[in-house]
Protein backbone atom coordinates (compact mmCIF):
# COMPACT_ATOMS: atom_id res chain seq x y z
CA UNK A 1 0.00 0.00 0.00
CA UNK A 2 2.79 2.42 0.91
CA UNK A 3 4.51 1.82 -2.44
CA UNK A 4 1.28 2.27 -4.40
CA UNK A 5 0.61 5.51 -2.58
CA UNK A 6 4.09 6.67 -3.57
CA UNK A 7 3.26 5.96 -7.22
CA UNK A 8 4.81 2.52 -7.75
CA UNK A 9 2.97 0.61 -10.47
CA UNK A 10 4.57 -2.69 -9.45
CA UNK A 11 3.30 -2.26 -5.88
CA UNK A 12 -0.15 -1.44 -7.22
CA UNK A 13 0.01 -4.59 -9.32
CA UNK A 14 0.95 -6.63 -6.26
CA UNK A 15 -2.03 -5.16 -4.42
CA UNK A 16 -4.30 -5.86 -7.38
CA UNK A 17 -3.11 -9.46 -7.80
CA UNK A 18 -3.55 -10.08 -4.08
CA UNK A 19 -7.09 -8.72 -3.79
CA UNK A 20 -8.71 -9.10 -7.23
CA UNK A 21 -9.38 -12.87 -7.19
CA UNK A 22 -11.42 -12.91 -4.00
CA UNK A 23 -13.16 -9.63 -4.75
CA UNK A 24 -14.22 -10.86 -8.18
CA UNK A 25 -15.25 -14.24 -6.78
CA UNK A 26 -17.24 -12.65 -3.93
CA UNK A 27 -19.08 -10.42 -6.40
CA UNK A 28 -19.77 -13.37 -8.68
CA UNK A 29 -21.16 -15.51 -5.87
CA UNK A 30 -23.60 -12.75 -4.97
CA UNK A 31 -24.68 -11.66 -8.47
CA UNK A 32 -24.15 -14.93 -10.42
CA UNK A 33 -23.25 -13.00 -13.54
CA UNK A 34 -19.61 -12.87 -14.56
CA UNK A 35 -19.84 -9.62 -16.56
CA UNK A 36 -21.59 -7.84 -13.69
CA UNK A 37 -19.08 -9.26 -11.19
CA UNK A 38 -16.24 -7.96 -13.34
CA UNK A 39 -17.81 -4.49 -13.43
CA UNK A 40 -18.33 -4.49 -9.69
CA UNK A 41 -14.78 -5.58 -8.91
CA UNK A 42 -13.36 -3.09 -11.42
CA UNK A 43 -15.37 -0.23 -9.98
CA UNK A 44 -14.24 -1.14 -6.47
CA UNK A 45 -10.59 -1.04 -7.55
CA UNK A 46 -11.11 2.26 -9.36
CA UNK A 47 -12.66 3.66 -6.17
CA UNK A 48 -9.63 2.39 -4.28
CA UNK A 49 -7.22 4.05 -6.73
CA UNK A 50 -9.13 7.33 -6.53
CA UNK A 51 -8.95 7.21 -2.72
CA UNK A 52 -5.36 5.97 -2.59
CA UNK A 53 -3.82 9.24 -1.41
CA UNK A 54 -6.33 9.60 1.41
CA UNK A 55 -6.18 6.00 2.56
CA UNK A 56 -5.13 5.51 6.19
CA UNK A 57 -2.42 2.82 6.11
CA UNK A 58 -3.15 1.85 9.70
CA UNK A 59 -6.44 0.39 8.51
CA UNK A 60 -6.57 -2.90 6.61
CA UNK A 61 -7.25 -2.59 2.88
CA UNK A 62 -9.23 -5.83 2.46
CA UNK A 63 -12.31 -4.96 4.52
CA UNK A 64 -12.47 -1.54 2.93
CA UNK A 65 -12.44 -3.04 -0.56
CA UNK A 66 -14.75 -5.92 0.27
CA UNK A 67 -17.31 -3.55 1.78
CA UNK A 68 -17.59 -1.78 -1.59
CA UNK A 69 -17.68 -5.02 -3.56
CA UNK A 70 -20.35 -6.75 -1.51
CA UNK A 71 -22.60 -3.72 -1.10
CA UNK A 72 -22.50 -3.03 -4.84
CA UNK A 73 -23.20 -6.65 -5.56
CA UNK A 74 -26.25 -6.57 -3.28
CA UNK A 75 -27.48 -3.37 -4.95
CA UNK A 76 -27.06 -4.90 -8.39
CA UNK A 77 -28.90 -8.07 -7.42
CA UNK A 78 -31.76 -6.12 -5.87
CA UNK A 79 -32.11 -3.97 -8.97
CA UNK A 80 -32.28 -7.03 -11.16
CA UNK A 81 -34.71 -8.85 -8.89
CA UNK A 82 -37.04 -5.89 -8.70
CA UNK A 83 -37.44 -5.68 -12.44
CA UNK A 84 -40.60 -7.50 -13.50
CA UNK A 85 -39.42 -8.05 -17.00
CA UNK A 86 -37.82 -10.53 -19.34
CA UNK A 87 -34.22 -11.13 -18.45
CA UNK A 88 -32.14 -10.42 -21.48
CA UNK A 89 -29.26 -12.72 -20.95
CA UNK A 90 -30.96 -16.08 -20.91
CA UNK A 91 -28.32 -17.32 -23.29
CA UNK A 92 -25.50 -15.85 -21.24
CA UNK A 93 -26.95 -17.31 -18.05
CA UNK A 94 -27.18 -20.75 -19.57
CA UNK A 95 -23.55 -20.46 -20.63
CA UNK A 96 -22.63 -19.60 -17.06
CA UNK A 97 -24.62 -22.57 -15.81
CA UNK A 98 -22.89 -25.02 -18.06
CA UNK A 99 -19.50 -24.02 -16.71
CA UNK A 100 -20.21 -23.74 -13.03
CA UNK A 101 -23.79 -23.74 -11.93
CA UNK A 102 -24.07 -27.51 -12.08
CA UNK A 103 -22.42 -27.44 -8.69
CA UNK A 104 -25.17 -28.12 -6.15
CA UNK A 105 -23.81 -25.70 -3.55
CA UNK A 106 -23.77 -22.88 -6.02
CA UNK A 107 -27.25 -23.63 -7.30
CA UNK A 108 -28.49 -23.62 -3.71
CA UNK A 109 -26.72 -20.36 -3.02
CA UNK A 110 -28.40 -18.86 -6.04
CA UNK A 111 -31.81 -19.63 -4.59
CA UNK A 112 -31.15 -17.40 -1.56
CA UNK A 113 -31.93 -13.67 -1.42
CA UNK A 114 -28.89 -11.53 -2.28
CA UNK A 115 -28.53 -10.20 1.28
CA UNK A 116 -28.23 -13.77 2.58
CA UNK A 117 -25.79 -14.72 -0.19
CA UNK A 118 -23.63 -11.74 0.74
CA UNK A 119 -23.47 -12.73 4.40
CA UNK A 120 -22.55 -16.30 3.53
CA UNK A 121 -19.87 -15.17 1.08
CA UNK A 122 -18.39 -12.77 3.62
CA UNK A 123 -18.37 -15.44 6.30
CA UNK A 124 -17.32 -18.54 4.40
CA UNK A 125 -15.29 -17.23 1.46
CA UNK A 126 -13.73 -14.07 2.88
CA UNK A 127 -13.73 -15.42 6.44
CA UNK A 128 -14.96 -12.39 8.31
CA UNK A 129 -16.45 -12.85 11.76
CA UNK A 130 -20.13 -12.03 12.29
CA UNK A 131 -19.09 -8.87 14.11
CA UNK A 132 -16.92 -7.76 11.19
CA UNK A 133 -19.71 -8.55 8.73
CA UNK A 134 -22.08 -6.45 10.80
CA UNK A 135 -19.63 -3.54 10.48
CA UNK A 136 -19.09 -4.06 6.75
CA UNK A 137 -22.79 -4.16 5.92
CA UNK A 138 -23.98 -1.69 8.56
CA UNK A 139 -26.25 -4.30 10.07
CA UNK A 140 -26.98 -5.33 13.67
CA UNK A 141 -24.98 -8.36 14.66
CA UNK A 142 -28.18 -10.28 15.41
CA UNK A 143 -29.35 -9.75 11.83
CA UNK A 144 -26.05 -11.11 10.52
CA UNK A 145 -26.34 -14.18 12.72
CA UNK A 146 -29.94 -14.84 11.73
CA UNK A 147 -29.13 -14.43 8.02
CA UNK A 148 -26.20 -16.79 8.38
CA UNK A 149 -28.34 -19.34 10.17
CA UNK A 150 -31.27 -19.08 7.76
CA UNK A 151 -28.95 -19.12 4.77
CA UNK A 152 -27.13 -22.21 5.93
CA UNK A 153 -30.41 -23.96 6.86
CA UNK A 154 -31.77 -23.22 3.46
CA UNK A 155 -28.59 -24.48 1.78
CA UNK A 156 -28.70 -27.65 3.87
CA UNK A 157 -32.33 -28.30 2.91
CA UNK A 158 -31.61 -27.83 -0.76
CA UNK A 159 -28.52 -29.99 -0.65
CA UNK A 160 -30.37 -32.77 1.14
Amino acid sequence: MRGAQAGSTSDLEALFRAYWPRSFRAAYLVVHDSAAAEDIAQEAFLAAIRALDRFDRRRPFGPWLHRIVVNRAIDWSRARTLRAETELDTTAASTDQSSGFDDATLASLRALPPEHRAVIVLRHLLEYTPGEIADLLDLPRGTVNSRLRRGLDSLAETLE
Binding site: A36, D39, E43, R50, A79, E85, D89, S99
Partner: protein, 379 residues
Protein backbone atom coordinates in the same frame (compact mmCIF):
# COMPACT_ATOMS: atom_id res chain seq x y z
CA UNK B 1 -18.30 -24.58 2.46
CA UNK B 2 -15.22 -22.46 1.89
CA UNK B 3 -13.68 -25.06 -0.40
CA UNK B 4 -16.91 -25.29 -2.40
CA UNK B 5 -17.06 -21.51 -2.83
CA UNK B 6 -13.39 -21.30 -3.78
CA UNK B 7 -13.72 -23.98 -6.42
CA UNK B 8 -16.71 -22.58 -8.25
CA UNK B 9 -15.65 -22.17 -11.84
CA UNK B 10 -16.25 -18.62 -13.05
CA UNK B 11 -16.52 -18.07 -16.81
CA UNK B 12 -13.83 -15.85 -18.28
CA UNK B 13 -12.08 -15.51 -14.90
CA UNK B 14 -8.55 -15.14 -16.20
CA UNK B 15 -9.44 -12.66 -18.93
CA UNK B 16 -11.54 -10.66 -16.48
CA UNK B 17 -8.54 -10.35 -14.16
CA UNK B 18 -6.26 -9.16 -16.96
CA UNK B 19 -8.86 -6.66 -18.20
CA UNK B 20 -9.30 -5.47 -14.63
CA UNK B 21 -5.59 -4.96 -14.28
CA UNK B 22 -5.34 -2.98 -17.52
CA UNK B 23 -8.18 -0.71 -16.38
CA UNK B 24 -6.64 -0.27 -12.91
CA UNK B 25 -3.22 0.44 -14.42
CA UNK B 26 -4.66 3.07 -16.77
CA UNK B 27 -6.57 4.73 -13.92
CA UNK B 28 -3.44 4.68 -11.78
CA UNK B 29 -1.47 6.37 -14.56
CA UNK B 30 -4.05 9.13 -14.88
CA UNK B 31 -4.39 9.83 -11.17
CA UNK B 32 -3.34 13.27 -9.96
CA UNK B 33 -0.26 13.15 -7.73
CA UNK B 34 -0.69 14.42 -4.17
CA UNK B 35 1.71 17.32 -4.66
CA UNK B 36 -0.79 19.08 -6.93
CA UNK B 37 -3.20 19.56 -4.07
CA UNK B 38 -1.81 22.92 -3.08
CA UNK B 39 -2.26 24.22 -6.59
CA UNK B 40 -5.84 22.96 -6.65
CA UNK B 41 -6.51 24.81 -3.42
CA UNK B 42 -5.32 27.98 -5.13
CA UNK B 43 -7.80 27.66 -7.99
CA UNK B 44 -10.92 28.71 -6.01
CA UNK B 45 -8.98 31.61 -4.48
CA UNK B 46 -7.83 32.77 -7.91
CA UNK B 47 -11.37 32.36 -9.24
CA UNK B 48 -12.72 34.53 -6.40
CA UNK B 49 -10.12 37.24 -7.08
CA UNK B 50 -10.85 37.18 -10.82
CA UNK B 51 -14.62 37.23 -10.23
CA UNK B 52 -14.17 40.17 -7.86
CA UNK B 53 -12.15 42.03 -10.46
CA UNK B 54 -14.82 41.37 -13.10
CA UNK B 55 -17.59 42.60 -10.81
CA UNK B 56 -15.55 45.69 -9.91
CA UNK B 57 -14.95 46.35 -13.60
CA UNK B 58 -18.59 45.83 -14.43
CA UNK B 59 -19.89 48.37 -11.93
CA UNK B 60 -17.49 51.07 -13.15
CA UNK B 61 -18.50 53.10 -16.17
CA UNK B 62 -15.60 51.97 -18.43
CA UNK B 63 -16.26 48.42 -17.23
CA UNK B 64 -19.88 48.55 -18.34
CA UNK B 65 -18.79 49.78 -21.74
CA UNK B 66 -16.30 46.92 -22.03
CA UNK B 67 -18.89 44.26 -21.12
CA UNK B 68 -21.35 45.80 -23.58
CA UNK B 69 -18.75 45.63 -26.33
CA UNK B 70 -18.01 41.99 -25.52
CA UNK B 71 -21.70 41.11 -25.58
CA UNK B 72 -22.12 42.90 -28.89
CA UNK B 73 -19.33 40.99 -30.55
CA UNK B 74 -20.77 37.58 -29.59
CA UNK B 75 -22.88 36.13 -32.37
CA UNK B 76 -23.04 36.24 -36.15
CA UNK B 77 -23.91 39.71 -37.42
CA UNK B 78 -27.02 39.88 -39.55
CA UNK B 79 -28.53 36.73 -38.05
CA UNK B 80 -32.19 36.15 -38.89
CA UNK B 81 -34.47 37.10 -36.04
CA UNK B 82 -36.63 33.98 -36.42
CA UNK B 83 -36.40 30.48 -37.84
CA UNK B 84 -38.12 30.67 -41.23
CA UNK B 85 -36.76 27.47 -42.74
CA UNK B 86 -33.97 24.91 -42.48
CA UNK B 87 -31.39 24.91 -45.27
CA UNK B 88 -31.64 21.11 -45.74
CA UNK B 89 -34.39 18.52 -45.74
CA UNK B 90 -35.43 16.63 -42.62
CA UNK B 91 -36.83 17.68 -39.27
CA UNK B 92 -35.15 18.79 -36.05
CA UNK B 93 -36.01 17.49 -32.62
CA UNK B 94 -35.41 20.15 -29.97
CA UNK B 95 -35.65 20.11 -26.19
CA UNK B 96 -36.27 23.29 -24.22
CA UNK B 97 -37.74 24.28 -20.85
CA UNK B 98 -41.03 24.40 -22.72
CA UNK B 99 -40.83 20.72 -23.70
CA UNK B 100 -39.87 18.78 -26.81
CA UNK B 101 -40.48 20.30 -30.25
CA UNK B 102 -40.37 19.09 -33.83
CA UNK B 103 -39.15 21.68 -36.34
CA UNK B 104 -39.94 20.90 -39.98
CA UNK B 105 -37.78 21.99 -42.92
CA UNK B 106 -40.21 24.84 -43.67
CA UNK B 107 -39.59 26.25 -40.19
CA UNK B 108 -42.96 25.23 -38.74
CA UNK B 109 -42.76 24.05 -35.14
CA UNK B 110 -44.91 21.67 -33.15
CA UNK B 111 -44.60 21.17 -29.41
CA UNK B 112 -44.97 17.50 -28.52
CA UNK B 113 -45.32 18.03 -24.78
CA UNK B 114 -43.40 18.47 -21.54
CA UNK B 115 -40.79 15.75 -22.07
CA UNK B 116 -37.27 15.73 -20.67
CA UNK B 117 -35.39 14.16 -23.56
CA UNK B 118 -36.19 12.68 -26.97
CA UNK B 119 -34.79 10.76 -29.91
CA UNK B 120 -35.93 10.09 -33.47
CA UNK B 121 -36.83 6.60 -34.64
CA UNK B 122 -34.58 5.44 -37.53
CA UNK B 123 -36.90 6.72 -40.27
CA UNK B 124 -38.35 9.65 -38.41
CA UNK B 125 -41.75 7.99 -38.12
CA UNK B 126 -41.76 8.18 -34.32
CA UNK B 127 -40.12 9.90 -31.42
CA UNK B 128 -38.99 8.22 -28.20
CA UNK B 129 -39.42 10.71 -25.36
CA UNK B 130 -38.99 10.57 -21.61
CA UNK B 131 -40.53 12.06 -18.54
CA UNK B 132 -39.17 11.51 -15.06
CA UNK B 133 -40.93 8.20 -14.63
CA UNK B 134 -41.84 6.88 -18.08
CA UNK B 135 -40.64 6.23 -21.61
CA UNK B 136 -43.04 7.19 -24.44
CA UNK B 137 -43.30 6.47 -28.14
CA UNK B 138 -44.97 9.35 -29.96
CA UNK B 139 -45.80 10.26 -33.51
CA UNK B 140 -44.16 13.47 -34.79
CA UNK B 141 -47.65 14.96 -34.38
CA UNK B 142 -47.49 14.34 -30.63
CA UNK B 143 -49.88 11.36 -30.44
CA UNK B 144 -48.81 8.82 -27.82
CA UNK B 145 -48.48 5.25 -29.12
CA UNK B 146 -47.29 3.52 -25.96
CA UNK B 147 -45.58 4.21 -22.68
CA UNK B 148 -43.52 2.25 -20.20
CA UNK B 149 -43.34 3.26 -16.53
CA UNK B 150 -39.74 3.29 -15.29
CA UNK B 151 -37.96 5.38 -12.64
CA UNK B 152 -35.60 8.16 -13.80
CA UNK B 153 -35.72 7.31 -17.51
CA UNK B 154 -33.15 9.01 -19.74
CA UNK B 155 -31.12 8.76 -22.96
CA UNK B 156 -33.54 7.00 -25.31
CA UNK B 157 -31.75 5.81 -28.44
CA UNK B 158 -33.65 4.13 -31.28
CA UNK B 159 -32.30 1.82 -33.97
CA UNK B 160 -33.64 -0.52 -36.65
CA UNK B 161 -35.85 -0.41 -39.71
CA UNK B 162 -39.52 0.20 -40.47
CA UNK B 163 -40.34 -3.39 -39.56
CA UNK B 164 -38.10 -4.07 -36.58
CA UNK B 165 -36.60 -1.64 -34.15
CA UNK B 166 -35.28 -1.31 -30.61
CA UNK B 167 -34.83 1.45 -28.08
CA UNK B 168 -32.00 1.57 -25.57
CA UNK B 169 -32.53 3.73 -22.50
CA UNK B 170 -31.31 4.06 -18.95
CA UNK B 171 -33.29 4.12 -15.75
CA UNK B 172 -32.40 4.05 -12.08
CA UNK B 173 -31.17 0.46 -12.27
CA UNK B 174 -29.06 0.69 -15.43
CA UNK B 175 -29.24 0.11 -19.16
CA UNK B 176 -32.35 -1.43 -20.74
CA UNK B 177 -33.48 -2.36 -24.23
CA UNK B 178 -37.12 -2.52 -25.36
CA UNK B 179 -38.63 -3.37 -28.73
CA UNK B 180 -39.93 -0.48 -30.82
CA UNK B 181 -43.52 -1.51 -30.06
CA UNK B 182 -42.88 -1.27 -26.30
CA UNK B 183 -42.73 -5.02 -25.66
CA UNK B 184 -39.98 -7.26 -24.30
CA UNK B 185 -38.29 -4.77 -21.99
CA UNK B 186 -34.94 -6.22 -20.97
CA UNK B 187 -32.29 -5.31 -18.44
CA UNK B 188 -28.86 -5.25 -20.08
CA UNK B 189 -26.24 -3.83 -17.71
CA UNK B 190 -26.16 -2.38 -14.21
CA UNK B 191 -25.41 1.19 -13.27
CA UNK B 192 -24.72 2.26 -16.85
CA UNK B 193 -25.88 5.73 -17.71
CA UNK B 194 -26.02 6.99 -21.27
CA UNK B 195 -25.68 8.24 -23.84
CA UNK B 196 -25.69 5.07 -25.95
CA UNK B 197 -24.86 4.47 -29.60
CA UNK B 198 -26.29 1.68 -31.76
CA UNK B 199 -23.81 0.52 -34.33
CA UNK B 200 -24.92 1.91 -37.68
CA UNK B 201 -27.47 -0.40 -39.26
CA UNK B 202 -27.39 -2.92 -36.41
CA UNK B 203 -30.29 -4.13 -34.30
CA UNK B 204 -28.04 -5.90 -31.83
CA UNK B 205 -24.77 -4.06 -31.24
CA UNK B 206 -24.89 -1.24 -28.74
CA UNK B 207 -21.90 0.84 -27.62
CA UNK B 208 -21.83 2.55 -24.25
CA UNK B 209 -19.41 3.68 -21.60
CA UNK B 210 -19.09 2.32 -18.08
CA UNK B 211 -17.13 3.91 -15.26
CA UNK B 212 -13.89 2.59 -16.64
CA UNK B 213 -14.28 1.43 -20.21
CA UNK B 214 -16.07 1.54 -23.54
CA UNK B 215 -18.06 -1.54 -24.45
CA UNK B 216 -19.78 -2.94 -27.49
CA UNK B 217 -22.44 -5.41 -26.38
CA UNK B 218 -24.74 -7.76 -28.25
CA UNK B 219 -28.14 -6.95 -26.74
CA UNK B 220 -29.59 -10.25 -27.98
CA UNK B 221 -27.22 -12.52 -26.08
CA UNK B 222 -25.79 -10.10 -23.53
CA UNK B 223 -22.28 -10.93 -24.73
CA UNK B 224 -19.73 -8.12 -24.56
CA UNK B 225 -18.18 -8.11 -28.05
CA UNK B 226 -15.28 -5.90 -27.06
CA UNK B 227 -14.23 -3.54 -24.34
CA UNK B 228 -11.58 -0.85 -24.37
CA UNK B 229 -10.05 1.67 -22.02
CA UNK B 230 -11.95 4.95 -22.17
CA UNK B 231 -9.42 7.36 -20.67
CA UNK B 232 -10.37 9.79 -17.88
CA UNK B 233 -13.55 8.86 -16.00
CA UNK B 234 -15.48 11.97 -17.01
CA UNK B 235 -19.09 12.25 -18.15
CA UNK B 236 -19.44 11.29 -21.80
CA UNK B 237 -20.46 14.23 -23.95
CA UNK B 238 -20.89 12.33 -27.20
CA UNK B 239 -20.73 8.76 -28.46
CA UNK B 240 -21.51 7.94 -32.08
CA UNK B 241 -20.66 5.61 -34.95
CA UNK B 242 -19.45 6.59 -38.38
CA UNK B 243 -21.95 6.08 -41.19
CA UNK B 244 -20.35 2.77 -42.21
CA UNK B 245 -20.27 1.45 -38.62
CA UNK B 246 -16.49 1.01 -38.69
CA UNK B 247 -15.47 3.76 -36.28
CA UNK B 248 -16.77 4.68 -32.85
CA UNK B 249 -16.23 8.16 -31.45
CA UNK B 250 -16.28 8.77 -27.69
CA UNK B 251 -15.87 12.30 -26.40
CA UNK B 252 -15.42 13.69 -22.88
CA UNK B 253 -14.33 17.18 -21.88
CA UNK B 254 -10.66 16.17 -21.77
CA UNK B 255 -10.51 13.13 -24.02
CA UNK B 256 -11.32 12.31 -27.61
CA UNK B 257 -11.11 8.65 -28.58
CA UNK B 258 -11.84 6.90 -31.88
CA UNK B 259 -12.00 3.09 -31.94
CA UNK B 260 -12.17 0.76 -34.90
CA UNK B 261 -14.83 -1.91 -35.31
CA UNK B 262 -12.79 -4.35 -33.18
CA UNK B 263 -12.33 -1.94 -30.28
CA UNK B 264 -8.77 -0.94 -31.13
CA UNK B 265 -7.95 2.66 -30.37
CA UNK B 266 -7.11 4.32 -33.68
CA UNK B 267 -7.07 8.00 -32.67
CA UNK B 268 -6.83 9.81 -29.39
CA UNK B 269 -6.36 13.34 -28.24
CA UNK B 270 -6.17 14.81 -24.75
CA UNK B 271 -6.33 18.57 -25.21
CA UNK B 272 -3.78 20.96 -23.76
CA UNK B 273 -4.31 22.48 -20.33
CA UNK B 274 -7.24 24.91 -20.33
CA UNK B 275 -8.81 23.49 -23.49
CA UNK B 276 -11.97 21.41 -23.33
CA UNK B 277 -14.15 19.61 -25.82
CA UNK B 278 -17.90 20.21 -25.95
CA UNK B 279 -19.26 18.01 -28.75
CA UNK B 280 -18.19 15.96 -31.74
CA UNK B 281 -19.71 13.99 -34.63
CA UNK B 282 -18.28 12.20 -37.65
CA UNK B 283 -18.45 14.09 -40.91
CA UNK B 284 -20.97 12.02 -42.93
CA UNK B 285 -19.26 9.54 -45.24
CA UNK B 286 -15.88 9.86 -43.50
CA UNK B 287 -13.97 8.70 -40.44
CA UNK B 288 -13.07 12.27 -39.44
CA UNK B 289 -14.98 13.93 -36.64
CA UNK B 290 -15.96 17.58 -36.48
CA UNK B 291 -15.23 18.78 -32.95
CA UNK B 292 -16.14 21.79 -30.80
CA UNK B 293 -13.21 22.90 -28.69
CA UNK B 294 -13.15 25.76 -26.18
CA UNK B 295 -10.19 27.62 -24.75
CA UNK B 296 -10.94 30.48 -22.39
CA UNK B 297 -13.55 32.71 -23.98
CA UNK B 298 -12.99 31.32 -27.48
CA UNK B 299 -14.51 28.30 -29.16
CA UNK B 300 -14.09 26.76 -32.57
CA UNK B 301 -15.36 23.94 -34.70
CA UNK B 302 -12.60 22.04 -36.47
CA UNK B 303 -12.07 18.78 -38.28
CA UNK B 304 -9.98 16.34 -36.28
CA UNK B 305 -7.12 15.83 -36.68
CA UNK B 306 -5.34 18.88 -37.96
CA UNK B 307 -8.18 21.13 -39.09
CA UNK B 308 -9.39 23.06 -40.96
CA UNK B 309 -11.35 25.31 -38.59
CA UNK B 310 -14.92 25.52 -39.85
CA UNK B 311 -16.14 28.20 -37.48
CA UNK B 312 -14.77 30.34 -34.68
CA UNK B 313 -16.68 32.35 -32.08
CA UNK B 314 -16.50 34.04 -28.70
CA UNK B 315 -18.16 32.34 -25.77
CA UNK B 316 -19.05 28.69 -25.66
CA UNK B 317 -20.28 26.75 -28.65
CA UNK B 318 -22.26 23.82 -27.33
CA UNK B 319 -23.54 21.24 -29.81
CA UNK B 320 -23.11 20.23 -33.41
CA UNK B 321 -25.47 18.20 -35.58
CA UNK B 322 -25.17 17.26 -39.25
CA UNK B 323 -28.13 17.59 -41.59
CA UNK B 324 -29.43 14.24 -42.91
CA UNK B 325 -27.77 14.81 -46.32
CA UNK B 326 -24.47 15.77 -44.66
CA UNK B 327 -24.20 19.15 -46.40
CA UNK B 328 -24.97 21.44 -43.43
CA UNK B 329 -23.65 21.50 -39.90
CA UNK B 330 -25.82 23.05 -37.20
CA UNK B 331 -23.77 24.55 -34.36
CA UNK B 332 -25.49 25.88 -31.25
CA UNK B 333 -24.14 29.00 -29.57
CA UNK B 334 -25.83 29.65 -26.21
CA UNK B 335 -23.90 32.81 -25.29
CA UNK B 336 -25.10 34.41 -28.54
CA UNK B 337 -28.55 32.77 -28.30
CA UNK B 338 -28.02 31.66 -31.90
CA UNK B 339 -27.99 28.62 -34.11
CA UNK B 340 -25.27 28.80 -36.74
CA UNK B 341 -25.66 26.74 -39.91
CA UNK B 342 -22.48 26.01 -41.83
CA UNK B 343 -22.55 24.67 -45.37
CA UNK B 344 -19.49 22.46 -45.53
CA UNK B 345 -17.82 21.51 -48.81
CA UNK B 346 -16.67 17.94 -49.41
CA UNK B 347 -13.06 18.96 -48.84
CA UNK B 348 -13.91 20.37 -45.42
CA UNK B 349 -14.15 24.13 -46.10
CA UNK B 350 -17.02 26.31 -44.92
CA UNK B 351 -18.87 27.59 -48.01
CA UNK B 352 -21.73 29.51 -46.42
CA UNK B 353 -22.88 30.60 -42.98
CA UNK B 354 -26.45 31.26 -41.89
CA UNK B 355 -27.46 32.22 -38.37
CA UNK B 356 -30.74 32.38 -36.51
CA UNK B 357 -31.05 34.53 -33.40
CA UNK B 358 -33.46 34.57 -30.42
CA UNK B 359 -33.48 30.80 -30.18
CA UNK B 360 -34.52 30.57 -26.51
CA UNK B 361 -37.56 32.80 -26.97
CA UNK B 362 -38.67 30.87 -30.04
CA UNK B 363 -38.85 27.71 -27.94
CA UNK B 364 -40.34 29.44 -24.87
CA UNK B 365 -37.28 28.61 -22.84
CA UNK B 366 -35.32 30.32 -20.08
CA UNK B 367 -32.31 28.14 -20.79
CA UNK B 368 -30.80 27.53 -24.22
CA UNK B 369 -32.55 24.69 -26.09
CA UNK B 370 -30.78 21.41 -26.85
CA UNK B 371 -30.83 19.66 -30.24
CA UNK B 372 -31.94 16.02 -29.90
CA UNK B 373 -31.54 15.07 -33.55
CA UNK B 374 -31.89 16.10 -37.19
CA UNK B 375 -33.63 13.28 -38.92
CA UNK B 376 -34.41 12.08 -42.35
CA UNK B 377 -37.10 13.70 -44.47
CA UNK B 378 -40.60 12.97 -43.26
CA UNK B 379 -42.49 10.42 -45.38
Amino acid sequence: MRRALEHVEIPDEHDARERGWRVAQAAFGERQPVRHRDRRRLVPAIAIVVAGAVVAAAISSPGRALLRSIRETVGVRGARSALFSLPASGALLVHSDGGVWVVQADGSKRRLGAYRSASWSPNGLYVAATRRSALYALTPGGEERWSLARPSVAFPSWTGSRTDSRIAYSDKSGLHVVAGDGTGDRFLAPAEYGPFAWRTGSLRELAYVSASEVRLQDVQTGRVIWRANRGPAEPVLAISWSGDGKRLLVLAAHALRVYDEHGRLVRRNDPAYGTTYADAAFVPGTHRPAVIRSHGAQSDVFLFPGGPVLFHGKGGLQQLTWSPDGSWLLVTWPSADQWVLLQVARGGATKRIQAIANISAQFRSQSFPRIEGWCCAQP
